[in-house]
Structure formats: structure tokens, C-alpha cells
Amino acid sequence: MTGGLQRVASTAVLVVFSLLLTVLILWVSGYRVGDVFSGIIQGAVTATGASTSTIRWAIPLLLIGLGVVIGFRAGFFNIGGQGQFYMGACCALAVSLGWREGPAPLVILCGTLAAIGAGTAWSLLPGYLRVRFGTDEVLTTLMMSFIGALVLQYLTAGPMRNPSGTGQTAASERIPDSFRITDGSGVSTTVLLLVGGVAVLVWLLLERTRFGLAMTLVGRNPTMARWQGINAGRVGLATFALSGALAGLAGAVELYGPGARLVTGFSPEVGFTAVVVALVGLLTVGGTVVAAVLFGGLQSAILFLPIVTDLPPPALVLLHGMVAFLVTIKFQAVWRRTGPGAKAMAS
């Protein structure tokens, strides 16, 4: 237990440190630190609609982040959440536009299932290559992500383009309003119940099923898991499928919720931010919920900030980078270096 507390503490320290470092950069660039902080508080919590907006941005982060947690639990770096998210949204959109006259609940259900299927497929290809051939999943999931972004771009600029649309960025047609499960704010009881239910299910899966325990063993030491009769390959495939399904679901929620249409390159950072969220959440479900709300708040604030100061959105990308850069630092490694056997550990 003390080990767990230590990890929470060290992660908190590193996140705060990254935040301070970013603020320091802002300060050097001439921004008033007080303004920035009060802007963040307002944009994330106190301003009208701010807390709703925080939740709205936390939802995709949480869903994709839970997928990342599942992947990491079994020892896989599925960092292609972005592409799986896009593919999910695209398939849900295709179903919804193709069956405009259908009964709303049925269309939403089919669209969501299609989204889950698409996310799963997008994740299973790298997963299969990894499990069957040992192909490194970091690069393949990343590449699948780039491809997903291009598919979205193609669809929004081509077949699904809104013909009456104006402006430079390509966007699809809107889905009928009856298909939406939230208003423009992106938050409704349905969505909250859905996301909360998913989080609980993922927690149960990871912490209270034999499959979850098997995943942990595969992630910690696949050799040992194999010796114990656990089919590491099958566990790996299921893991990839699940994490892709969650990202695909996030795409559907985005479409039926706040989006209502797809715009080329929407939420471009969400995939990577979800990885950061999962890491900050210490790869636990509860931690990921907390981290998703935290980063959702920052996202909401960065959109609000220009009203207070003229802070540009890239500052948030910078912050995410800082957190990712530092968050996996092991304090134990720092201590160990000063202890016995330091030389042997150094490499």
C-alpha cells in the first residue's frame, strides 16, 4: 500500500512540476501568471457552462484513456486511440446518414455498434501483427492513427461532405437532431450513465475477473504467463480489441453528443492526451477518471482562456508534452542510484 501511495505522490509531484514549468514558460513569454491561473479556474469550473464543458471534454479522454489502461495492463502500447476514435465516429456517421429515416434509438444503437466495430478493427490489425509476428505495436498503431485521420479527411472532403457547407475546413453533413443524445453542451444524463457504466464495467473486468488477472500476468511477465497455461496471444488480441472498442465508442459518443457532424481533424490531440491521462491516472480506472476530469478541465479552460488573456491553444499541447515527458520518471530509480549496486543498475 505504501508503494501505491508513493506512486500517487510522485505522479502528483511530476504533474504539478510540469504545470509549473509550463507556467514559467508563459511567464517568461510575458503572460501574467495570475491571469492565466484565474483563467484556468474560470474556464474549467466557475464560468457559466464551464464545468459542463469540463465534463464534455473529459468524456472522450476517459473512454480512450480506459482503452489505453487496458492495453498497458497487458503490456501493450496501444497509442493509436486517435485513429480508432476517428474510425468509430466515421462509421457511426455513415450509418446515421445512410439511414436517416430510421427510428432514432435503433439508428443510434446500430451506429454505436458500427463505431465499436470500426474501432476494434482498427486496433486489431496492429494487435494481430503484434501477437502473431511480434511486430512492434507502437509504430503500427501510430501509423493506423495517421491513416484514420486521412480517412476522416477524405470522407469529410469527399463522399460525406456537406455540399452547402462554406468555409475552408471540410465538414460532413449534420445528422438529424433526433439522433442526438445530448444538446450542444455534450453532456446529458444518458451520456453520463453510459460513460459511468463503461468505467464501472472496465473496473470490474480488470480488477474482479479472472481475465483481468490473466491480463495483468501477461503484462508483467508473458513468459511466466505462458508457463502457467495462459494463452498470452489470445489475451493480447482481446486486449487490443477492447481498447479499440472503447476508442470507437468514444467516436460514437462524440458524434451523437456534442459533434452532430464531423469536421476534418477534429479533436486532434485527444488520442495522445488520453495516453497522458491514463499514465497520470497510474493505469488504474479510478485514477484515469480523475485524470480525465483534470485534463478535460484544462481543455475546457484553454478554449475559454482567449477571453481572459490571449493565450494560444498550443500552450496546452506544450503542457501535455511536458507531462508525458516527465510523468514516467521513476523516483525509485533516482534513489536506487545512490544505493548499493548502483553501478550495475545504471545501464
Binding site: 494560444p312 520518471i329 545504471a346
Partner: protein
């Protein structure tokens, strides 16, 4: 035809430079996903400092310095501080992308892109007409790139430094057993990689063009990384892989002009990524992994995550 050749060279030069950087990192056993971030940091610094001083040389020098400092930080975080190589590398990429876009606003008070007056010298002059005119638009870095690749080949394949680097990457124990500190060798490799990324970024911003745009690297760092794998971690192989991706890019640009009607642009742009997946699959990170698992060479490894 000449058009495509010149466009290929121009697209390939930054890729080749960054791929060479990737070869150094990879040979030292570092799965360096921060190349993209270093590259864009190099592109921006060249423009920013070059614009301020009016000298492209100073701009490049500053870019090399900045990228080496970032590389050293990366080394410090993944080495002595034990952070995860992949996550920290992706973080470095985000720092580069976000940091340059932010700095663009903070320093130049602009969003999107800026133009600059500084430009790399173009050694071939005097061709003012005909198909050769495009050759005269190639910057000095494009012409130097083959020399850099050659130098990298010497450093990696024909020098003691290269042997140490390969030993550290392949089997750290072999290096330690002869008194080589793997950590220091990794730092050296990362510093060289940083400098090369800076050059790649500079070619992108003031070689081919005269501007800096947010996110102008557009995944080139990752493609370069793939070129490393495609080229079997060999500097010449990686260079040719980079050239090939440059060619694919050139075809893409050409086809955008010519055949947009028939093949959507996005599908052309997908080609490098699809090829990459095949390359990673075939090219054998797998080979490397199974090697590590060989008896007597296996080191106990359990991930923390």
C-alpha cells in the same frame, strides 16, 4: 520528369537527415519517437534566430544547439531518471509541436505561419530557363546530405565509436564488460541525432521554403523513423528508404496536380503510412527481439506498466 526528380530530392533531404539521426539513436538501442519534435524545433529555431540576426548560418547553429539541449534532456529523463523511452519520446514530440506553435504566437504574435527573408544558399546558379531551373532551387543542405550520410556510414560502420554504439544497442553487457559506459554512449548518440534533426528541420523551413508553419513537419519525423527500420538500421539503407518516401511524396504532390480527379489526394498521402506498416511487419523489429531472447543474451525484463 525533372520536376519529379527535383521534388523527390527536395522532399527526401529532410527525411534522410532525420532518418540518419534515427539510425544513430536506434543503433544505441533507443526507440526515439521524439524525432518529430526535434525536427520542428530545429525548423522553428532556424527561422526565429535567422530572422532576428539576418544570418541563416547563425540560425542553423542555434537550431543545432537547441536540439542538442533537448536531446540531452531526453537522455537525462530516460537514462538516469528511468522514464519510459516511448512515452517520453512522444512527450518530446508534443513539446516540440506545441512549443513552436506557442512560441510563434509569443514571439511573432502570429498564428499559423510566418515568412522569413533568410534562406539557405543555393549553390547551383545561372540556370534561368529550361527544366534545369528546378535544380538551381535545391539548397546547399540537399547537396550536403549525401556527404552527411556517408560520414554517418563511416562513423557507424568503420569506426570504434560505431562499434561501441552498436554494442550498447545490441547487448549492453558486452559494452560494460570492456569498460564502456552504455549511458554515456547513448548520450553521444542522442546528441548527434539531435544535431541531425536540427539540420532536417532547417532544410524544411529555409531550404525548400521560406517560412515556418505550425505542425509543418506533419509526421515526417515518424516517417523518418520508419525509414530507419525499412533501411535495417543501416545509414545507407535508411537514406535510400528516405529517398523512396521522398519519391512517394513527390508522386503525391504531382498527382495532386494531375490526377486529383481519379485518385483522391488522401489515398496518395496514405501510401507512406501503409508502406510503413508493411515495413515494420517485414523489416523485423521482430528479428531484433528474437535476438535479444537468445540464450546467454537474455536480460530479465519486466515492464512496469
Amino acid at each position: 520528369m525533372e520536376q519529379i526528380l527535383a521534388t523527390t530530392l527536395r522532399s527526401a533531404a529532410p527525411l534522410v537527415l532525420v532518418a540518419t539521426a534515427g539510425v544513430f539513436a536506434f543503433r544505441a538501442g533507443i526507440f526515439h519517437l521524439g524525432l518529430e519534435g526535434l525536427m520542428i524545433a530545429g525548423a522553428f529555431t532556424t527561422v526565429a534566430v535567422g530572422d532576428a540576426t539576418g544570418s541563416v548560418e547563425l540560425g542553423i547553429l542555434a537550431a543545432v544547439g537547441v536540439c542538442m539541449i533537448l536531446s540531452a534532456l531526453y537522455w537525462w529523463v530516460i537514462g538516469p531518471l528511468g522514464a519510459n523511452v516511448i512515452i517520453a519520446g512522444l512527450g518530446l514530440t508534443s513539446i516540440g509541436l506545441g512549443g513552436t506553435a506557442f512560441a510563434l504566437g509569443a514571439i511573432f504574435d502570429k498564428r499559423g505561419s510566418i515568412f522569413t527573408d533568410v534562406v539557405l544558399p543555393r549553390p547551383v546558379r545561372g540556370i534561368t530557363s529550361g527544366p534545369g531551373v528546378i535544380i538551381s532551387e535545391l539548397s546547399i543542405l540537399v547537396w550536403i546530405t549525401p556527404l552527411i550520410v556517408l560520414a554517418a556510414w563511416f562513423a557507424l560502420r568503420r569506426s570504434r565509436f560505431g562499434l561501441r554504439l552498436a554494442a550498447v544497442g545490441e547487448y549492453p553487457f558486452s559494452a560494460r564488460s570492456v569498460g564502456v559506459n552504455p549511458s554515456i554512449v547513448r548520450l553521444q548518440a542522442l546528441l548527434i541525432a539531435g544535431a541531425l534533426c536540427a539540420l532536417g528541420g532547417a532544410e524544411l523551413s529555409v531550404g525548400a521554403l521560406r517560412n515556418f508553419t505550425e505542425n509543418m513537419t506533419n509526421g515526417r519525423g515518424f516517417i523518418a523513423f520508419v525509414a530507419v527500420i525499412f533501411g535495417a538500421w543501416h545509414p545507407i539503407g535508411a537514406a535510400f528508404a528516405g529517398l523512396f518516401f521522398g519519391f512517394a511524396d513527390a508522386i503525391g504532390i504531382q498527382s495532386q496536380i494531375n490526377i486529383t480527379e481519379r485518385v483522391p489526394r488522401e489515398f496518395v498521402l496514405m501510401i507512406p503510412f501503409v508502406i510503413t506498416i508493411f515495413a515494420v511487419w517485414l523489416g523485423g523489429l521482430w528479428r531484433r527481439r528474437s535476438l535479444e531472447a537468445e540464450a546467454g543474451y537474455a536480460e530479465l525484463r519486466e515492464p512496469d506498466y
